[in-house]
């Protein structure tokens, strides 16, 4: 739902990093998003296309990799993925779990064009 300011943040960070690393243009951006994050990739792609027109990001390919949610079971110590609509341990069935992963949302890396390319 807040994909516009979020996409603006992606653009700002990438332009900043491009400048810092003295690159010519960005070819690819790799984003990691946890399964429990609420951001809708389709909306981010849509805003990205609009916001990057005329910038050094305009031809960049945006990759958003989803990673699964992870739980830790306090009863059997199982740590692993879970179906995000079933709030119980998939190994022992216990509801005594805590969520230890799945809310990630960060820019992992980008592929840039050097001035020498």
């Amino acid at each position: 739902m807040h994909e516009l300011p979020v996409t603006q943040s992606i653009v700002n960070i990438c332009l900043e990093e491009l400048e810092k690393n003295k690159g010519k243009a960005v070819k690819e951006i790799n984003i990691v998003e946890g399964e429990l994050s609420d951001m809708v990739p389709e909306s981010i792609h849509m805003y990205f296309e609009i916001l990057t027109k005329g910038t050094k990001l305009q031809d960049a390919v945006l990759n958003i990799a989803k990673i699964p949610a992870k739980i830790q079971c306090k009863d059997c110590s199982f740590e692993g993925t879970f179906n995000k609509t079933d709030f119980f341990c998939s190994k022992c069935g216990s509801e005594n779990i805590s969520i230890v992963g799945g809310r990630e949302f960060y820019i992992d890396s980008m592929e840039v064009e050097d001035f020498g390319d």
């Binding site: 949302f105 820019i107 992992d108």
Partner: protein, 214 residues
């Protein structure tokens, strides 16, 4: 060439949130972000908590609404410093909104600051706003399936307040379901069951808040 970045995309808000946390720690002000649906009982609860806290604590309130000053007027009637924040359409508030409004308060003269967030079970959960504690209200008439339907609001809360608890029998409210779902999302969450009009059940919540004083 590949550049490794590893930067959080929501840092634009998180940086401001951390700045506010540092300021409030320095001034020893406990900030509580009160969230919940429209009509869930946020203002009524805050009013009741002020009643129980103001003898020993200096309190300030930021009231956030899309429009109007209805809630700010209720708080002002208690002689508590309050500022109304109107978002003019935005569905949540961000850390910068709080940063801009804090100069309206004398933080040296405050112990506790309540922020009544926009009535909304979705968006406020995503944005930290400088608070020490997140308090999410679920009122009985809203139903016992809301923790499953709106997990982020409850997974990130420090406390779940089940309000209008006196209505439980009228709405066939399965409180065990609510509590189990909330604990599964967040094992550390505190649960309180209150009638904010009479104050029944607020004693434990008042103590919990008092225990967090800086």
């Amino acid at each position: 060439m590949e550049i490794k970045i590893v930067r959080q995309i929501l840092d634009w808000n998180e940086d401001c949130h951390r700045e506010l946390r540092d300021l409030l720690d320095e001034k020893k002000v406990l900030m509580i972000n009160v969230m919940g649906s429209p009509g869930g009982g946020k203002t009524t609860l805050i009013t009741k908590l002020i009643e129980g806290l103001h003898d020993k604590n200096k309190i300030g309130v930021i009231e956030a609404d899309i429009a109007g000053k209805i809630d700010a007027e209720k708080i002002a009637a208690l002689n508590i410093p309050v500022v109304q924040l109107n978002t003019d359409g935005a569905c949540h508030i961000e850390a910068m909104s709080i940063k801009n409004i804090l100069p309206d308060f004398d933080l040296e003269e405050l112990d506790i600051m309540f922020i009544e967030n926009i009535g909304n079970l979705v968006c406020p959960a995503e944005f930290d706003i400088g608070e020490d504690l997140k308090l999410s209200i679920l009122s009985v008439p809203e139903g016992d399936d809301k923790v499953e339907k709106y997990p982020l609001m409850f997974s990130r809360a420090d406390a779940l307040v089940i309000s209008k608890y006196d209505m439980k029998e009228y709405f066939k409210f399965d409180e065990e379901r609510v509590i189990n779902n909330a604990k599964a999302l967040n094992n550390e969450i505190e649960i309180f069951k209150v009638n904010s009009v009479t104050g029944e059940g607020t004693k434990e919540l008042l103590q919990w808040i008092q225990n967090h004083r800086k």
